[in-house]
């Protein structure tokens, strides 16, 4: 976690960030990813208590036009899921970095964060891969 409380990103467009209020880690999908998906209408969430390896499939996000998988950005254990997404999946479009988070997690190997991208690196990654 860097000093500004900003996020680390995976190449598959998930983020990992620490909620500064309760000092717990959360994961979600990036603003870029939600804008590519369009209106999100359904999210299948991971299981609380379950451990997922990096790049393992933890869920699915369905928008009107497409469906995408959500992957574990690093090795994680799910502490709790954002069950608000069951009734208001559009939170992912509205606040991808906030109320539209996917789950609260425990990071199994803290050094894994070093292998993710910071904000600037992620922005550069998007430009080089998608524009």
């Amino acid at each position: 976690m860097n000093k500004n409380g900003s996020f680390y990103f995976s190449k598959s467009h998930e983020w990992v960030g620490k909620d500064l209020k309760d000092n717990k880690y959360r994961i979600g999908i990036s603003d870029f990813a939600q804008s590519e998906l369009g209106d999100v209408v359904y999210v299948s969430l991971p299981e609380s208590g379950k451990t997922y390896n990096k790049n393992g499939k933890i869920g699915e996000i369905e928008s009107v036009k497409s469906v995408s998988e959500i992957y574990a950005p690093i090795d994680i254990k799910i502490i709790s899921i954002n069950s608000n997404l069951n009734d208001t999946p559009e939170l992912i479009n509205q606040e991808p970095n906030g109320a539209g988070y996917i789950a609260e997690v425990e990071i199994l190997n803290p050094s894994d964060l070093d292998n993710l991208m910071d904000d600037d690196a992620y922005k550069a990654f998007i430009v080089s891969h998608h524009e």
Partner: protein, 390 residues
């Protein structure tokens, strides 16, 4: 698809300027949505929306024997409609499979225009040219031309679309030239047009003349406007400049699909293709009984339906997608999804499917399952359309 060959409509730069998400569809770069499929969809249902559908094809059929030609190549009674009228029809191959579903505009007994699905423009044109050569062998006079590249097509749809269109067009009607077209009949006032009739619109102050029809693909009141490719940008911007008249929003292909599907309008490549006959698709009412047409002979051998098109809603929130399997309550495969989408008007997922046993009683299908990526999701048969209360 090779992007080097992907075409652009005259409005491509306008879509980009508005920040549209662009996708390749039927050989064209098209806007999928500008901001949100759901918002655009609901605005068409409640107010009005404008679509760029310039990717669609326009083919003219002219000549002394054009009436006999259109009656032979199309399944509906085309030549019998009046000048200034439109008819929905199928084009069948000799086996009775559906080559395309189209609308045919009649200008006179010797002049027609066919509006075809973008993905099928080249196929339809080749087929109609082949039929033209067969007619010409019998000394019939008919000429088929593909004018698609010169035509821009805008669609204004929604209950308020009249509030946009009526104030912006002059009331004058005249015989003769109308933009790209030439009217040999006296067209109606645009305000007097009924569904599936067309006229000429002269847009005030802009000096643009265009063919305007009361038609669309949304299940709402609306217009389609055929304008020269050169003037398409000017007309698009003129209408959007006046968007306050009807709360007009630009709408992309994403909402075009959800709107048409709620209205249970078929989409070629989903509900229709060359392996499906008109009976399977439930379109037998577009087969004329009073004339011969290509495919009619083969259809006589179709004793009973081979498949049956059903519509359903999902119990859960997942969206069924084209070609996923349908399973009965014993998990035996019984068919395939034709179309599936989220219904913004109902806030649940809906779909259509071909059931392989046409004799099946849909009430026995009260509960069945869709195989969505390995999850068996429950669905139930419902009667369309989905956008209006029964």
């Amino acid at each position: 698809m090779d992007t080097a060959e992907t075409k652009k409509t005259p409005l491509y730069d306008e879509h980009n300027k508005m920040g549209a998400k662009i996708v390749s569809f039927a050989g064209f770069f098209m806007p999928l949505y500008y901001k949100s499929i759901i918002e655009e969809h609901l605005n068409v249902r409640n107010n009005s929306g404008i679509f760029d559908i310039s990717h669609m094809g326009e083919i003219t059929i002219k000549g002394k024997d054009a009436a006999g030609f259109v009656d032979y190549v199309f399944t509906a009674d085309v030549s019998k409609i009046g000048n200034g009228e439109i008819v929905y029809s199928l084009i069948l191959n000799e086996k009775g499979g559906i080559i395309d579903d189209v609308t045919v505009f009649k200008f006179s007994d010797s002049e027609y225009m066919v509006v075809v699905n973008a993905a099928n423009t080249q196929k339809d044109f080749s087929w109609l040219r082949y039929m033209q050569s067969e007619f010409q062998k019998n000394n019939k006079e008919v000429l088929v031309e593909n004018i698609s590249d010169g035509v821009g097509l805008l669609s204004v749809q929604g209950p308020k679309s009249r509030d946009l269109v009526y104030p912006l067009i002059s009331e004058a009607v005249k015989i003769g030239k109308c933009g790209l077209f030439d009217f040999s009949f006296k067209p109606k006032q645009v305000k007097d047009l009924k569904h599936f009739e067309f006229s000429c619109a002269e847009f005030k102050d802009s000096g643009i003349e265009a063919l305007i029809s009361r038609s669309g693909y949304t299940g709402e009141f609306g217009f389609e406007i055929f304008v020269s490719a050169e003037k398409t940008v000017a007309l698009w911007n003129f209408l959007l400049k006046n968007s306050n008249l009807s709360n007009l929003l630009p709408v992309g292909l994403g909402a075009r699909d959800t709107l048409r599907f709620e209205a249970a309008l078929p989409l070629y490549g989903h509900e229709l293709d060359e392996t499906i006959n008109p009976y399977d698709a439930g379109l037998e009412k577009y087969l004329s009984e009073s004339k011969d047409f290509v495919g009619k002979e083969s259809l006589k051998n179709v004793k009973s339906k081979e498949k049956r098109l059903i519509f359903f809603k999902m119990t859960g929130k997942q969206i069924p997608r084209h070609s996923q399997r349908i399973l009965d309550e014993n998990l035996k495969p019984i068919g395939c999804i034709a179309s599936g989408t989220y219904s913004p008007s109902n806030k649940f997922s809906i779909g259509s499917a071909y059931i392989s046993d046409a004799g099946v009683n849909p009430s026995f299908l009260k509960n069945f399952f869709i195989d969505i990526r390995g999850n068996f999701e429950k669905a139930e048969v419902v009667l369309p359309p989905f956008h209006k209360k029964h």
